[in-house]
Symmetry: C2
Subunit: 400 residues, 2 copies
């Protein structure tokens, strides 16, 4: 029918290069309970504070229901923004509630920042590899992605300097500075200072995505790029998904006044505001329980899982495989021999009831196929060891 | 500083024409408790099912917390989508869960539809007046808005036909067919059939925004445009904001397969998915209580408020003012003498502790200043009568 044909040809150009995320498709396959999955980026559900959250939602609906269930402001619930501002101040970020925009999950921060900053063809620097849903968001806004290498100290900032010099039209630098997804690496202090300096020198924004910052298991906390920023060019993005629960879909963005106002306008047109109820219940939970104790517990348990995975890799994986040694977060990143394709490894691994995410989707361009992302937060130590042992057997068949 | 200057000049072009919604700014002023506000589009908070929702959230977190608080699929919680599909079938819409995308409020449906369909410069037909947050969303995607008149039977579909003939590059027709915001009018059956026919003839999508459809106080329910659609060109958008509570931020979009898949990709990049907890708790509430009884109660109470406002207008307003007679929804729309500016009326009305929304922001272009939107759902009958009486006094000073 002609109508269908017209329909077919009539999507916006921004949709042309995009497909349903392969990772999310893999996740659907690997959610069978008998599979040991290192694939998802899932927090451990047995650590969700369910009793406390049940009480928080019940209390807030019963006591403040007429406000908690009503329309509210786009900026978000002020007491919660005050609470977040105080916590950020302990990390050296000079923010007040007026700088904090509550989000329906921190992914929304990527969407809003792109919406406010990027014209089609604008250039964005990302690491290779980088968070794949950031790639998708920037592509939806028809950005041109420029990749720079990353190593054990995170993004190669000298390559960033070269790219900034070569491309005066770079608009934004995106990175996960702490315990990167997928690589697990952390940007060193020296590189943080250099990157903020470069942003100021070239008048380029930095989007600092920090979902995992609270989850450090070893080493010293490093200052957020936002705390080093004198120019208002750093946007700082974080979430309660990893410290409370992702199903809440509650994140926030920190920005200086001028861009903050634009972000509010963009959010108003995107979803009016984030759930009033979720914001108030989360605030109630945070202020009636010790967040620090809960996070200390997560650190202890995830830290052990991270160590067990690292020990298992050392024991079972072929010596020719290399992997990162994360000091926090939820992932590590393994590099196999150049001729190996982890998509093929995955197909065989699933038969052995093991899953992971092949690395290619984390490369914005020039995709490489000999990497894999391994999640350690969502399996108990015994399963981690067993899973790595089985995965090692599959890899050994492909590795000389 | 140069960095700040660079920063200033570097927003995306799409942000150029947009300002913080004047309506939301008015709402901030008029939220003082002593003001009788007809301004907001707020449901009556005393009718929120707080006890039932408190139990639903408590139950779901306690019993299904590990799933309800975890990441989930972009499409949404399948049992809830099944439930919605069944309800839509009673309205003649042939939908299954596979056609239903859960949204973080129905505003998100406007954003996603625009993202998937519109290139900069693409043309969108809207009524004059129309929902102002739709205008904002389409402008953010740099659409060119083409307005058509509306009268007591809704959008003038013969003018739509003329515009479609004149502009072969029209991509989308947006409307609120039931109890329009701001006008309160309902598209007649004849016009519904004609509009769907025109969409098919010209291969143009219709975005049917139906937040108020369940809230009919008089007359017969009319079939949704989506139920008349044979071609898959109608996108149907609705929400629980008006039938349960807006603070939940829970809506849905109904679309045929091809566009549905694009919408899923766009939503993934926008916010990954809608709160798993809110979806499961809402499903629990819907399936353990009688939705029909709750909606019947809303209809009875809002219907009375609507009648009281219509009677008060007839009694107190100058005879030269005209207003619509809604059969449902939350708003009516008054036209004052051509020389009157409702912005000036508002300034005086606020001194009398009365608020409403001036009509100009509801016009996509050629703004007219002699209209006002009056909300009747958020005030009790005595206050409605008192408020209209006071507002009539202010208007009388400007009306001959």
């Amino acid at each position: 029918m002609t109508t269908t044909a017209t329909h077919l040809s009539s999507f916006a150009h921004r949709m042309d290069p995009l497909e349903v995320s392969t990772v999310r498709e893999i996740l659907k396959v690997t959610e069978m309970p008998e599979v040991i999955s290192f694939a998802g980026g899932l927090p451990a559900p047995e650590l969700f504070p369910t009793t406390e959250l049940a009480q928080a939602f019940y209390h807030v609906i019963r006591e403040e229901g007429r406000l908690a269930l009503q329309y509210s402001t786009t900026e978000g619930y002020t007491p919660l923004r005050d609470y977040i501002a105080l916590r950020l101040q302990t990390k050296g970020i000079r923010a007040s509630a007026n700088n904090i925009l509550m989000l329906s999950g921190s992914q929304q921060g990527l969407d809003l920042a792109a919406k406010v900053l990027l014209n089609p063809g604008d250039k964005v620097i990302v690491a290779r590899p980088t968070y794949l849903a950031a790639i998708q968001t920037f592509m939806l806004f028809e950005a041109q992605l420029i990749t720079v290498a990353s190593d054990d100290e995170g993004m190669d900032v000298e390559e960033v300097a070269l790219k900034l010099r070569a491309h005066p039209d770079i608009k934004l630098i995106y990175l996960v500075a702490n315990f990167d997804n997928p690589s697990g690496t952390t940007l060193s202090l020296e590189r943080r200072e250099r990157l903020v300096h470069l942003a100021q020198q070239y008048g380029v924004c930095i989007l600092e995505d920090d979902p995992y910052g609270e989850l450090r298991y070893r080493g010293e906390h490093l200052p957020p790029l936002k705390s080093l920023d004198e120019s208002g060019l750093v946007l700082y993005l974080s979430t309660f998904s990893k410290t409370i629960a992702p199903g809440l879909r509650l994140g926030w963005l920190v920005a200086e006044k001028e861009i903050y106002q634009k972000l509010v306008i963009a959010k108003q047109a995107s979803d009016l505001h984030t759930s009033t109820l979720t914001q108030r219940a989360t605030y109630y939970y945070l202020t009636t329980h010790s967040t620090d104790e809960h996070i200390a517990r997560l650190r202890a348990i995830y830290g052990e899982r991270c160590s067990v995975m690292l020990e298992s890799l050392a024991r079972y994986f072929p010596a020719t495989v290399r992997w990162t040694k994360p000091e926090g977060g939820m992932f590590l990143w393994a590099e196999l021999a150049p001729q190996v394709r982890t998509e093929e490894i995955l197909a065989e691994a699933i038969k052995e009831k093991i899953a992971f995410v092949p690395g290619a989707p984390f490369f914005a361009n020039d995709k490489r196929h000999n990497f894999m992302r391994l999640n350690f937060s969502n399996q108990v130590p015994l399963q981690i060891e067993e899973g790595i042992k089985r995965l090692a057997r599959v890899i050994a068949r492909h590795h000389s």
